[in-house]
């Protein structure tokens, strides 16, 4: 099941790129789902756990994958942690739903992610406990909590 915390989330990982760089394991790239995510979002192929073939950048290490792919891989492999999924574009949304179907994950969103206007889903909004099934249901609820998000004090 996918759970979302909108706005500020305690103990969440905000800078997912840095966390990924220092935490990823080459075995993460063995799974078919990881390879599919890399192919779909970054149009790249996994050559090994330490080498990705990008059509633009050539052969790159995993830390040079897009911010979105890195965050998806973190959700997949460290489901007990809450990651800032506003590092993911809308092209990652279907993969977040897919990971949420396979295991329980909680993500933090600081923007209005589009999970697909014609997509049905089950998402729990942790802020108020609502369960939503479509973007039509999700948008007003998410908007309320995103508006409540205040700029953090230093």
């Amino acid at each position: 099941m996918l759970t979302i915390v909108y706005g500020d989330a305690e103990n969440s990982i905000y800078n997912t790129s840095v966390y990924f760089k220092n935490s990823y394991e080459s075995e993460w790239f063995d799974s078919e789902l990881a390879k599919e995510i890399v192919r779909d979002v970054d149009h790249s192929d996994v050559l090994s756990g330490e080498c990705i073939q990008s059509p633009v950048l050539g052969q790159i290490p995993p830390e040079r994958l897009s911010g979105g792919v890195k965050t998806l891989l973190l959700m997949l492999n460290e489901p007990d942690k809450i990651f800032n999924a506003s590092t993911c574009g809308d092209n990652c949304a279907k993969w977040i739903l897919e990971i949420g179907k396979r295991q329980d994950i909680t993500i933090n969103l600081r923007h209005m992610m589009d999970f697909g206007m014609n997509t049905r889903f089950d998402i729990v909004i942790k802020n108020g406990g609502e369960v939503v099934h479509s973007m039509k249901e999700l948008i007003p609820v998410a908007s309320q909590y995103l508006n409540a998000m205040r700029q953090e004090q230093d």
């Binding site: 633009v56 950048l57 506003s86 039509k136 700029q151």
Partner: protein, 323 residues
């Protein structure tokens, strides 16, 4: 800082070529479109110059800002375009917003996060896409494109209900205009209340939501997604209500067409956090000596609701059919 500044960033593999013309530009959109790559290239160029293999061309300094020591750096940088990638925890802070407000720099921020304390324009929210143009076979060209336009519709619309962000003079004006057409006009009392008001009102027919585009950037994503999910709602986002009055060319002895054509050449980022504020000041200042036309933000002077002014403003609002 004033003016439009062309930025070219190039390696053997990718080329970026775009123009920055306001104090805040937002880069957003899909993952893997090249936002972080652009900022990494600029960082490498700043650190290593020609040794980086990156070519950067701009008529002012391009620099990056990261978490470490960001506040001191920002206080010292002037006359530069400052690129900031997502993941920097200072981005949603009050202190960052304060420093941007007083800054003589332009900022290009790669983020999807709502930054409500920064009044950025809907016109300066961009995505990147591969354009398919190649200088030579190995180099890909990443093109910048506008995500949002002045109006959310591509066809003309006839409003049957009007909601304004504004609760002052702008609301007074659109109330008069709506009354002429015998339709309702209400104020949302602020840019963050649009979705709430749309939900609360029991509305039948086409709704026109009018906001100040110059400062509506942080709300644009939420509202445009709401519009996608609901039908019969159109968002109209000119720079501001005062911009509409200036652009209508209806105020006697006032010629600001050169300013309106290229506002970036007149608006100092250190003085105006948003073009919205500049257009208010411009209208107030330009009319202060005329007892009849003296503009006030709080309460619309009667002359601005006259049939003549309403008629000329309607002409500026393209695609919206009032008559």
């Amino acid at each position: 800082m004033k003016g439009a500044h062309r930025v070219i960033v190039e390696t053997k593999k990718i080329k970026y070529d775009f123009v920055v013309k306001r104090n805040i530009t937002i880069l957003t959109g899909d993952s893997g479109s090249g936002k972080t790559v652009l900022i990494d290239y600029i960082r490498d160029y700043r650190r290593y110059g020609a040794d980086s293999g990156v070519f950067v061309s701009c008529d002012c300094d391009c620099r990056t800002l990261d978490n470490e020591d960001w506040e001191r750096q920002l206080e010292e940088i002037t006359g530069s375009i400052v690129f900031i990638d997502e993941g920097n925890r200072f981005l949603p802070t009050q202190r960052f917003a304060e420093l941007v407000q007083q800054s003589d720099n332009y900022f290009v921020i790669a983020t999807r996060e709502k930054l409500p304390m920064l009044p950025y324009s809907i016109k300066e929210i961009y995505g990147f896409r591969e354009s398919g143009k190649f200088r030579h076979t190995k180099q890909k060209y990443n093109e910048i494109y506008h995500l949002y336009g002045e109006i959310s519709n591509s066809d003309s619309i006839e409003p049957e209900y009007v909601i304004t962000e504004d609760s002052n003079s702008g609301f007074d004006f659109f109330s008069s205009l709506s009354a002429e057409k015998h339709i309702n006009c209400i104020s949302a009392n602020g840019k963050s209340n649009i979705i709430k008001r749309l939900q609360e009102e029991k509305i039948c027919g086409t709704v026109l939501v009018i906001v100040d585009g110059a400062a509506f950037g942080s709300e644009m994503r939420d509202v445009s997604k709401y519009l996608e999910a609901e039908k019969n709602i159109v968002l109209y986002a000119p720079e501001s209500f005062e911009w509409l009055l200036l652009a209508s060319n209806t105020i006697p002895h006032l010629n600001v067409s050169a300013i309106l054509e290229q506002p970036e050449n007149y608006i100092d980022s250190a003085k105006y956090i948003s073009w919205e504020r500049y257009f208010i000041d411009l209208l107030i200042d330009s009319t202060k000596d005329s007892p009849l036309w003296r503009y006030a933000k709080k309460k619309l002077p009667a002359i601005y609701s006259s049939p003549k002014v309403i008629k000329t403003v309607k002409k500026v609002m393209k695609l919206i059919v009032w008559d």
